[in-house]
Amino acid sequence: MSEAGTALLEARGISKIYPGVVALDNVDFQVCAGEVHCLAGENGAGKSTLIEILGGSYPKDAGTIRLHGRVVELTSPRHAHDLGIAVLHQEIPILSDLSVAENIFLSRQPRGGARLISYAEMNRQARRWLEMIQVDIDPRTPLGNLPLSRQQLVSIAKALSLEARVIIFDEPSAVLTTAELKRLFEIINSLKAEGRGIVYISHRLEEIFEIGDRVTVLRNGKLVGTEPIGRIDRRTLIKMLVGREIDESGAGGGSKAVEGLPPVLEVRGLNRKGVLADINFSLHKGEILGVYGLVGAGRTELARALIGADRADSGEVWLEGRRLRIDSPRAAIRNGLCLSPEDRKTQGVFLDKSVQDNICLPSLKNLKGRLFLSYGKIARYAADFVSKLRIVTPHLQQQVKFLSGGNQQKVVLAKWLGMRLKVFIFDEPTRGIDVGAKEEIRSLIKALAAEGKAVIMISSEIPEILSISDRVAVMHEGRIEAVLPRREATRERLMGYSMGAKSE
């Protein structure tokens, strides 16, 4: 199919050098009319740099970009828009206080008499673009009031309104539920049918195989190759991505029977108005309890209620036969519970702080001399975890924001490991990190359980849940619909319960 199309956008020999790092090294990339070209690579492979260059955000250091066969020098995002290239960024930057329509038409607002903006006309046009992708949103709503998935639809409408011929989707699926993703794919397919060129970036291999016509893989800033999807399989793609073979099934040890193990944590009748309803479950020593559910099912809310970040309205939490009163994360940590939060960058780590500071912060109490903090102890403590967890960082003083997602996640884990906690809650610990690092994180979690810790693992990815859990709890609309032992948990059952099919 791609062979049939003509090259809309063609980048040749693109290089980008940052001080000390070659972010892109002589990369070729091409999008044809009417194709979905997937761009894949681990974090730090150079995908983001490439699309920032194609979107006019960063200047390139070498190479040429051709649009419709003519060489163009992109100078700014505005310039790229004018030429018909739109980038839908991963962390969709939005102006939350401005209306949907204004976000769509920012700096291009339709004007009426005396060159003053006509809000009526702007809202009318916005509605028209939204209708084109069959989205029913009032263009006057402040964009910040919409859920992330709808914000994304708005940015698609914006790309359409730019008359973009090339639309670049940077990991759009990270914030979408299964149903929303299906909807997105329908939209992408219709855009493709109109002869636009689509670039689609994702960490999820299933998506690449489902939506893509071709895939280009980058690794360490270099082009690994471009292949038609029809000609490669999953295994080959992973090999291209990682540069080595990985056993992805993750089955490995298999699940334990947990019935015989002593329960560590028991939750009875936990309620929080509007988000959690009558939550009951128990968690055993050495067990990994997977929690699956669609976005908005209450998984994160459950985690937050358990560690006291949000107050539950009623219900009891028992730890090793003792009833806990947890009204703050501080109390939770004292009692031996911790959370690795979903939003790693803002809640899991301090991005501007060093690796050492991040790892040691909760344990500073134990890292004192007689009176004052001992920086010797602190450095040894941090270095110990950096090597144990194989955190890749040039030195302990590196700011965490420069680490890859996987290494940031390890820092979050390291933070809790030294504290002799009993229950570890992970909320989407592998979201947005690359295939190789995902596996590392999963094996670290398994190792925790093997040491006898109790683990709650929240994830949206069914294969991940199935590969790691001993039992799986499925949530739907704030309730636990079912708790299944691993051998009874199948993809179909999880999906069914998560969409509200009642347990018999």
Binding site: S57, P77, R78, L95, D97, L98, L116, I117
Partner: protein, 335 residues
């Protein structure tokens, strides 16, 4: 689904507060609705109001401008000195020794000298904005330095002395009463209307909101932030200079010490008017109401003959209480 009343309170709370204050004032003092009192109240509000307009631009963009109070003083003395035939030469001390107004020897014809001072004010604003943008220094610090510098400049220029003598047209700017409306109020409301159009109905104005709401988001939407980051300070400096000229007319002299602390009144009015200090959210309409609310509070305390220092205490408490209430109400709105 959401309680409608609450929503109304949040959206129009400011107007309710204004209305309530007017009613309370009427009840508390029979003098409140007299022409004299209202004209007085509006005149006083107008000066803060003009500063608050410029401040709204700056705060919407995500900055703050502490220099406006000093700029009022500097513009006032700069203007007076042009009328006395001296500019950019520090005044010899002898000028101030004899009593009474010295003879005016203006070096520029009248509309041009006003224009000159306005341009200088705008230029000081430009400097603040440029330094803050170019060197990535927080505007709080930059404008603090400009504030200190400008006050120092103003005071050393005339050795701290006021410079007497103002021509009639300038007095008209301060005291004129066309159609019985105080001239400063006409200037203030006219400027407000202009700013409102600029901020709400032009792409440039919306760009200021966008940059204040998130610079990166704005940039990715095709906005080049530089000009949007600098322009608000120019507006702010311009209005500070205008207030300086009008104050000269009002006092009949250029006074280098005028305007101390006025930047804080302007900021308070903007914030009461619902503009978020973190940028990107707010409106000129809100600022106008905020200024009126501040003016009313002071006016009613004056009518009740509360002394100046307790007035300050009350002002502090009322501002914080208003903001706390607003925050509680808007949080209840959900999300």
């Amino acid at each position: 689904m959401k309680p409608k009343v609450n929503q109304l309170l949040v959206d129009y709370g400011l107007y309710f507060v204004l209305l309530a204050l007017i009613i309370i004032s009427t009840i508390l003092s029979p003098l409140f609705f007299s022409y004299m009192n209202l004209a007085n109240l509006l005149t006083q509000a107008s000066f803060t109001g003009l500063l608050a307009l410029g401040m709204t631009f700056v705060i919407l963009m995500g900055g703050i401008d502490l220099s406006v109070g000093s700029l009022v003083g500097f513009s006032s003395i700069l203007y007076a000195s042009i009328l006395h035939g001296a500019v950019f030469t520090f005044m010899p001390k002898e000028i101030f020794i004899y009593a009474g107004a010295p003879k005016l020897t203006p070096i520029l014809p009248l509309p041009l000298d006003i224009l000159f001072v306005l341009v200088v004010g705008a230029f000081f604003g430009f400097i603040s904005g440029f330094i803050s943008y170019r060197f990535r220094i927080h505007s709080f610090i930059v404008t603090l330095c400009v504030m200190i510098f400008t006050r120092g400049l103003a005071v050393s220029y005339t050795h701290g002395q006021p410079l007497f003598g103002m021509p009639d047209p300038v007095s008209f700017l301060a005291y004129g009463l066309p159609a019985k409306i105080p001239m400063p109020t006409i200037i203030w409301l006219g400027s407000s209307l202009f700013c409102l159009l600029l901020l709400r109905y032009t792409r440039f104005g919306r760009g200021i909101y966008a940059v204040g709401g998130g610079e990166e988001a704005a940039r990715l939407s095709g906005i080049q932030p530089a000009w949007y980051r600098i322009f608000p300070y120019i507006v702010s400096g311009f209005f500070a200079a205008l207030v300086g000229i009008m104050m000269s007319g009002r006092m009949g002299c250029g006074d280098p010490k005028i305007g101390q602390g006025w930047e804080l009144d302007a900021i308070a009015a903007v914030v009461i008017g619902g503009t978020s200090l973190s940028g990107g959210k707010g409106s000129i309409g809100g600022t106008v109401v905020g200024v009126l609310i501040m003016g009313l509070i002071i006016n009613i305390m004056n009518l009740l003959e509360i002394a100046a220092y307790p007035q300050q205490m009350a002002k502090g408490i009322i501002i914080v209480a208003a903001l706390a209430l607003h925050s509680v109400l808007s949080r209840r709105r959900g999300r």
